[in-house]
């Protein structure tokens, strides 16, 4: 039914043209975040009713400078626009142009028009144009392009109705072509058109050049050199003519704010000071700002758990709900404050135009590690929690860098390691002074440094080993500074949080229930759910047996069966180590000092000395520094990379690394 099918409308334009603002305006919160087939790039679509009986499916394509493929972004856009299958075909295109920087925007738009798709040009930043005394003769430009040209203001919504109307009425431009290849190029193009029976020259041109670039078409004749270059020169010549005829601007007023701000923001010294100040704020915000809401969520769910225990007849079901399901839900909800905070922060950076400057400032420093400045944000966020940090890599365009960042982020010292570190440092490191500083503090600081060093070194190694595909040249536009739009920040936070809860959340919940089962049941004893304490002693649960079973494996690290059980059970989350130790040593309250005192009394049956020696403590500390002991991280990695294989390999590699380092440390210290 053609009238039932949604009208597929693609947004095409350069980055920083207000594309996502327009997208949010056109679709509201009714957005779906998915993936493009085969690659890990995000694809956002939104459904909206535009007129009686007209459903519009708006597709937010990545921002590009040209339809020719220089990177995955352009490939995605070109593939979408060349699509011919009826259910995948693009029906209408909204081309975007930043009204204050029309030249390069019109370049891409003239390519879109040449594809013969019904298109409308939306000129954004209308308010800024007015403020700067810029004037665009839209009617004349529309007549020349053969398509509607609409001025829009995404802040106020001005011009959106006219845009929607124009899109519904749009037809292919009758003014084609805007680019005419000459000489050898023309002869080659005619050949491609004939071979592929493509009627439209520009379609054949794009397709033929792409095939030649990938080098997979032996039948295809190689195109003569400088094809894309000649196209660029011809198109720019044309665009310059249009602008001379239809655009009035005052070049002196142009971008004065951006230039003034950039004098400080990318200054060799002040730039770094500002960047580190902002990163420090981010760290503080994630660490302390999320504390209150996290405690609130924790308290509410703990109360719910108690309520369930009190009001349900004690038994299997009550225990499953109060000790399996509710903590599982808590494990999902607990991350929301940090995720929301981090994405609000990132969205502000991107919206304001500052993120491009971060990449610029940090590029030289991050380059040896195969990373760009964009990785600074996940690295810093990782000190709070790896979950939001790994999710934040979504904003990276370079999939190779994203892979590296996801692979090494779990090595950064996150806040869940702190309780474990605090317990162990208090146990084995003397409370003495070292070079005027508290030794315990120095060790903790050292563990933080170790996390960063391990992450960067790991990334550098992977960068060396991984076969480098063609890396796109580092060419980055510095967008002008703009005041962020609250609507866009809120949409970004909402989409990220929603996708975390509905996608990674499911996996986290499933893993916590499985682990509850393994901790509550055992092979040789029926669990007793009627009493107040654990249904069976932990050493008789499956986890307990697993811990004892791997004791011989863990022995070279100095771990006895109790420590092994705690290590296995803290796969749920690292901080569970403390609770498990408390259970194993039958300490009732989970206060750190009490557990520490009890652990300090533990005697090694072989030596008759205290069991927790420096060697055991350091070995455990290092094990926790490297191992990916976190089910939620595992779930998020699997979801973000769309690959359980990746998550499993990462888990194994980091586990092996942890084992090796702890082993060496123990062997050297014992």
């Amino acid at each position: 039914m053609p009238d039932k099918k949604a009208l597929r409308i693609a947004l095409v334009g350069r980055p920083n043209t207000g594309k996502s603002s327009l997208f949010n305006r056109l679709t509201g919160l009714n957005q779906k975040v998915g993936n493009y087939p085969g690659i890990t790039m995000e694809r956002t679509t939104g459904l909206a009713k535009w007129a009686p009986g007209v459903l519009a499916e708006v597709i937010d394509l990545p921002g590009v400078y040209s339809l020719h493929a220089s990177s995955t972004d352009e490939e995605v856009v070109m593939e979408a626009l060349l699509q011919e299958a009826p259910e995948e075909r693009i029906d209408r295109v909204i081309g975007l142009a930043d009204g204050t920087n029309l030249k390069t925007c019109l370049f891409v738009f003239s390519q879109v028009l040449d594809l013969g798709l019904p298109a409308v040009l939306a000129v954004t930043m209308r308010d800024e144009m007015e403020r700067r005394g810029m004037e665009l003769k839209t009617e004349e430009l529309a007549a020349t392009l053969g398509c509607a040209v609409i001025l829009v203001n995404t802040r106020t919504g001005e011009g959106l109705d006219a845009l929607r109307e124009a899109v519904l009425r749009a037809e292919p431009s009758g003014k084609l072509p805007f680019f005419q290849p000459g000489g050898l190029h023309l002869r080659w193009l005619a050949q491609v058109q004939e071979d592929q029976s493509m009627a439209l020259p520009y379609r054949a041109w794009l397709w033929g050049l792409k095939e030649a670039q990938v080098g997979k078409s032996d039948r295809l004749q190689q195109p003569p050199p400088r094809a894309r270059t000649d196209e660029a020169i011809q198109r720019y010549r044309q665009v310059n003519q249009w602008l001379r005829a239809f655009f009035v601007a005052d070049p002196v007023k142009d971008r004065r704010w951006t230039a003034r701000l950039d004098r400080v923001v990318v200054h060799p010294i002040w730039g770094s000071v500002i960047l580190f100040g902002l990163l420090f704020l981010l760290f503080q915000g994630l660490f302390y700002g999320s504390e209150a809401p996290m405690n609130f969520i924790d308290d509410q769910l703990a109360a719910l758990s108690t309520w369930l225990t009190d009001h349900l007849p004690s038994g299997f079901l009550a225990h499953l709900l109060s000790h399996g399901l509710v903590p599982g839900i808590a494990g999902v909800l607990m991350f929301i404050p940090q995720i929301a905070l981090l994405f609000a922060f990132i969205s502000l950076l991107e919206e304001s135009g500052y993120m491009a400057r971060v990449v610029f400032i940090m590029d030289r420093f991050m380059r040896p590690f195969g990373l760009s400045g964009k990785s600074v944000v996940p690295m810093v966020s990782g000190t709070a929690c790896a979950i939001p940090a790994i999710m934040s890599t979504r904003n990276m365009e370079n999939s190779r860098e994203r892979f590296l960042a996801i692979a090494v982020t779990p090595l950064i010292t996150c806040s869940a390691r702190l309780p474990v570190y605090a317990l162990l440092i208090g146990l084995v490191i003397p409370n003495s002074a070292w070079m005027g500083m508290n030794l315990r503090g120095v060790v903790l600081l050292g563990l933080y440094a170790l996390g960063f060093v391990a992450a960067l070194a790991g990334s550098a190694l992977l960068h060396r080993w991984m076969p480098a595909k063609k890396t796109p040249a580092f060419l980055l536009e510095m967008p002008p500074y703009r005041w962020p739009q609250g609507r866009n920040v809120l949409t970004a936070v909402w989409n990220r949080t929603k996708s975390f809860v509905t996608e990674a959340g499911k996996i986290i919940l499933a893993i916590s229930i499985i682990l509850w089962f393994l901790a509550s049941f055992g092979p040789n004893r029926t669990p007793d759910f009627t009493q107040e304490r654990a249904p069976l002693p932990i050493e008789e649960s499956y986890i307990g047996y697993a811990g004892k079973a791997i004791e011989p494996v863990m022995a070279p690290l100095g771990f006895d069966w109790k420590v092994s059980v705690a290590v296995v059970s803290s796969f749920v989350a690292r901080e569970v180590f403390v609770g498990t130790m408390a259970t194993l040593y039958s300490v009732d309250d989970e206060d750190n000092t009490t557990i520490r005192a009890q652990m300090a009394r533990e005697v090694n049956p072989r030596t008759g000395q205290p069991y927790f020696t420096l060697a055991v403590g350091v070995s455990l500390l290092l094990f926790y520094a490297f191992a990916m002991q976190c089910a939620s991280t595992f779930a998020v990695v699997a979801r973000e990379t769309k690959s359980y294989r990746f998550a499993v390999i990462q888990f194994i590699v980091l586990g092996a690394l942890a084992y090796g380092v702890a082993w060496i440390a123990y062997a050297m210290l014992v």
């Binding site: 660029a232 990318v266 536009e477």
Partner: protein, 75 residues
């Protein structure tokens, strides 16, 4: 002279560029005959940020080393 030699705040004209350069450079607006200005640079002049055709484009030094320029008076 090459783009990497341009002093801060100075303008030049882009000369014919070698075919080996990424075409994206052209498509972003940096093409022969255009005026180009070094707007700011990171420490050790790497990366560098240029204004060309009204857009700020930053690139690494090794790429800027490959782009020949001439002084604006030569035109």
């Amino acid at each position: 002279m090459f783009l990497s030699d341009l002093p801060l705040g100075q303008r030049a004209i882009v000369l014919q560029t070698p075919d080996s350069l990424p075409v994206k450079l052209f498509e972003m607006g940096c093409m022969p005959g255009e005026e180009i200005e070094l707007v700011f640079a990171a420490p050790f002049q790497d990366p560098m940020c240029f204004r060309v055709q009204g857009t700020l484009i930053s690139m690494r030094r090794d790429l800027a080393k490959l782009i020949p320029i001439t002084s604006p008076d030569a035109r």
